[in-house]
């Protein structure tokens, strides 16, 4: 797409108005997934496998169906056969077929007149299992004697002779590693592991489904992407895409975990069988046991550096498990592991491995934080070994416009250097540390995403503007969308209303994922607004009897422009709108595209910690996020993304992990034991917004949502290393692990 280059002078962009949906969300009026009901609605519940790996011999629902109030039971037999690829994976994940593949895997579902009856009925369904050996650890799953999750799941990329649980293999790089390591004054080689962390959205998955025997249906659900839901549900159930209309509710967090389906096809199947609407709401333990956490990882890293601080070579092997299906994001891990730096000799190897765990789902910068933890930890050790400053060393190796990325193409304009310079200049970087305290630095990257996008704007009869988009508002994006429309039309922010359209009202939109909503929907709104203002100018030209080329749009008005346009008073958008019915009909603008000018976002974090030598507990003393936003449309919500990403990273580093017992069952499926950060764990999170405009967006926007979770893992580990003098290579850094490291040191 030809663009004039990002706009620089703004009237509304960069201000901090109140979000349009603020009132609804502070008064309890906003309707989230579980807040919707329909007349005649039944309630569903799902029976889940208590075994990590088991053959399903028989399911007998006779007693459940005999319970008063039970209207339908579905099993895999109620879903069509013959699906392939990811459609089959999703179908198999939402309802087990021949085998239960992990603790929590759905095996049957009930619809009844109340939720209590539905839950009672689950206890009456008799399932006969033949328990099979299981494996939940990535390294063990690759070992020769590991139980096979599913024969034939591997794709063409896996070399012969590997265990059948290795389902994808990848290798990439450039240069000559041997030569590169020979040029180094110090080479360090270490191994690291990270555990699976859950997205931890506070709103469990919820939906209401209404599917008729005629194949026409409606689904109301909390999701990051309702067209994705439509595609997946119709594929899994054998329906025609447009016969299912999906309407998104307000969404109570997603972080990637709500870009796929878990319960929606089951609710639709129950509704079809019962002939009534069915509501399904997950419990928290169902969320933790049976929706996607992120992958866990096991990694070997080798890096070499000269005594001046130049990285000479880097190599990494990344093994990741994404549960009982292919899809661990190891491709992204390998792509981004060394992406911060200009490295001539670099090599990556990746393994996607299946285990008896839930199917992983995207989690904020999927794949990036694990790799960054390993590589930025080794970089920190190199700096320590050579007596170099971590920020100066990063500046020496940082990529900039024109640098060939470790994953191939040359970087367009990016802001890594700017974030490092801002971090160095920030007061946090020079605070004097006390005993048992340490400071850590790390940088991280996310490439962002464009994705299929469709948006419309329509002029109201009073000149206010209705914006219809297809990306759900997960963190205040309605405000950013309204700001961009206000800027494009030159009308007050308050005169714009933003609606999220259902799948029956707009073309396909990818989810709010990949940090794409403000970039891609914003771009579409700006282009659609420009189309609308061209039409508004045409109406003015017609009224004035002059050529449309002689009319320009400025500050919400059509104005004559150029030497021969003539003298006319400007026509406001309200004046043109008031007459539009008699001057040619409604005025609207539309734009659809798959924009590819998404600019990546770099960030640098600086964290100070104090480690209690008696208990091994790590306290975050101060935390700084510096990140490139391209252009911050609504700076308060940009800061919010920085802060939220950092704190999720703090949780992943210090507390959060999936703990499986010897029996393969998840041992911490409630928030008491799966401990996300709480207010008393944290200080304020300091932020600096860097703005290196993205040439691929009319206003210079870069996505900001995901980068922020990439640096915290290594930054905190580096700070703990600084505090206790020991390199921690296994996440999370729980007090017992840190205490053991302190004791081993002494």
């Amino acid at each position: 797409m030809a663009l004039d280059g990002p706009k620089q002078d703004f009237k509304y962009i960069g201000t901090r108005p109140e979000r349009p949906d603020g009132w609804d969300k502070v008064t309890g009026k906003a309707r989230f997934g579980a807040d919707f009901s329909m007349p005649g609605m039944l309630h569903g519940a799902i029976l889940r496998s208590p075994h990590a790996h088991a053959k399903i011999i028989k399911i007998d629902a006779t007693k459940a169906l005999a319970l008063k109030g039970v209207k339908a039971v579905v099993t895999r037999a109620d879903f069509p056969e013959g699906l392939e690829g990811e459609d089959w994976n999703i179908q198999e994940n939402v309802m087990a077929g021949e085998k239960a593949l992990y603790d929590g895997h759905a095996v049957a579902a009930v619809a009844a007149t109340s939720q209590l009856i539905a839950r009672d009925a689950l206890k009456l369904i008799e399932v006969e299992y033949e328990v099979l050996p299981h494996v939940t650890d990535v390294d063990k799953a690759m070992a020769e004697d590991a139980p096979v999750i599913r024969e034939g799941a591997a794709d063409y990329s896996v070399p012969e002779g590997m265990h059948p649980n290795v389902v994808r293999y990848m290798e990439s790089g450039r240069g000559d590693l041997e030569k590169g390591f020979a040029e180094a004054d110090l080479v360090i080689e270490e191994s690291f592991t990270t555990e699976a962390a859950h997205q931890g959205y506070i709103e469990p998955h919820a939906c209401v489904a209404n599917l008729g025997a005629d194949g026409k249906g409606d689904l109301w659900c909390c999701t990051q992407g309702h067209w994705f839901v439509r595609q997946m549900c119709t594929a899994v159930l054998g329906l025609e895409a447009t016969q299912l209309r999906v309407t998104p509710s307000e969404i109570g967090g997603g972080f990637g975990g709500k870009t796929t389906v878990f319960i929606d096809p089951v609710a639709l199947a129950l509704s079809r069988k019962a002939g009534r609407p069915v509501k399904l709401v997950m419990s928290r333990s169902e969320v933790l046991r049976a929706t996607g956490p992120t992958a866990s990882a096991s990694m070997d890293i080798k890096m070499g550096m000269t005594k001046e601080g130049k990285i000479t070579a880097a190599s990494g092997t990344f093994r990741m498990q994404g549960g009982a299906f292919p899809g661990a994001p190891v491709d992204v891990t390998t792509m981004l592991a060394f992406a911060n730096y200009d490295i001539e000799h670099v090599h990556h190897v990746g393994y996607d491995v299946m285990t008896n765990r839930p199917k992983q789902a995207a989690y904020r910068a999927p794949g990036a934080p694990m790799g960054a933890f390993a590589t930025e930890s080794v970089l920190d050790e190199l700096c320590r070994g050579l007596g170099l400053d971590p920020i100066e060393t990063r500046l020496k190796n940082a990529v900039k416009e024109g640098t060939p990325a470790t994953f191939g193409p040359k970087f367009p304009p990016v802001g890594l250097i700017e974030t490092l310079e801002e971090a160095r200049a920030h007061p946090n970087y020079s605070v004097k540390l006390g005993p048992n305290q340490g400071r850590g630095v790390a940088s991280g990257y996310w490439m962002n995403w464009g994705g299929e996008t469709s948006a419309s704007v329509a002029i109201g009869d009073d000149g206010s503007v209705q914006v219809s988009i297809g990306t759900v508002d997960i963190g205040g994006s309605r405000a950013s969308m309204a700001l961009m429309a206000a800027e494009a039309f030159g009308i007050p922010y308050e005169n714009v209303r933003v609606s999220i359209a259902d799948t029956g009202s707009l073309g396909i939109n990818e989810p709010t994922h990949g940090s794409r909503a403000t970039f891609a929907s914003g771009l579409a709104i700006i282009e659609a607004s420009r189309e609308a203002t061209r039409k508004l100018c045409q109406r003015a030209a017609d009224k004035w009897g002059i050529d449309a080329d002689a009319v320009t749009w400025e500050d919400g008005c059509a104005k004559p422009s150029g030497p021969n346009a003539g003298e006319f008073d400007p026509l406001t958008i309200a004046e043109i709108a008031a007459e539009m019915g008699s001057t040619g009909g409604p005025i609207s603008g539309h734009h659809e595209s798959t924009p590819d000018g998404f600019g990546g976002s770099f960030g640098t974090h600086v964290v100070d910690v104090e480690v209690d030598p008696e208990t091994g507990r790590t306290t975050i003393l101060r935390y700084l996020v510096v990140q490139d936003a391209g252009k911050a449309i609504h700076p308060a919500y940009v800061e919010g993304q920085f802060q939220g990403g950092a704190v999720q990273g703090i949780g992943w580093t210090l507390n959060e992990e999936y703990i499986y017992g010897e029996d393969g069952r998840l041992q911490n499926p409630i928030f008491l034991d799966y401990r996300v950060p709480v207010a008393s764990d944290l200080p304020m999170i300091d932020t600096v917004i860097v703005e290196v405009p993205n040439p691929g967006h009319p206003y210079g926007v870069r996505g900001v949502g995901e980068t922020g979770i990439t640096p915290p893992l290594p930054a905190i580990a580096n700070a703990v290393r600084d505090a206790i003098g020991v390199r921690m290579k296994k996440l999370p850094l729980t007090p017992p692990r840190v205490l053991a490291a302190i004791k081993a040191r002494d």
């Binding site: 949906d21 709103e203 709401v281 928290r284």
Partner: protein
């Protein structure tokens, strides 16, 4: 099993409902009274999204049985704005961008109001410990704490 008839006061209005002995106050508010402002995030009292007050005491409504509300006074997020005007905490949450997705917001507002009623001038640390029972996964709490501090200051000035 027969249902229990409960008469209680919610946000100043006398209401009644029939509930199963097993149903929680949260279930009753949401399913029988159509007050869906309180949310179920965990059902185990760990997330605080269902926070309400019962006779002035902050509780997780998922840990209270519906039958226990008999004769009590319940206050929920739906009663926080009065006469069409937002409570200072509600206004400050919008002003400070203290919510992203907004699912935890009703519970946090109810909990913060309860804190300020007990202690109109809490320190940041007191605030962080009082709100430690309310999980927010989006914001990292920074803007929430700032909004509560700002609202507290405004309320002290007004009183």
């Amino acid at each position: 099993m027969s249902k229990i008839h409960v008469t209680t006061k919610v946000n100043g209005d006398e209401v009644e409902y029939l509930c199963e002995p097993r149903e929680t106050l949260l279930d009753c508010l949401r399913d029988h009274l159509d007050l869906t402002g309180a949310k179920e995030g965990c059902g185990t009292g760990d997330c605080g999204a269902c926070s309400v007050t019962m006779d002035g005491r902050l509780v997780c409504s998922c840990l209270v049985l519906g039958a226990e509300a008999q004769g009590k006074e319940i206050a929920t997020i739906e009663g926080m704005a009065e006469d069409g005007a937002l409570h200072p905490l509600q206004r400050k949450f919008i002003e400070h961008a203290a919510l992203q997705c907004g699912i935890c917001t009703p519970g946090i507002l109810v909990a913060a109001k309860s804190l300020l009623e007990k202690n109109p001038d809490p320190t940041e640390t007191e605030m962080r410990y009082w709100l430690a029972g309310n999980l927010c996964r989006c914001t990292g709490y920074d803007k929430i704490i700032r909004a509560v501090m700002d609202a507290a200051a405004e309320m002290r000035e007004a009183s």
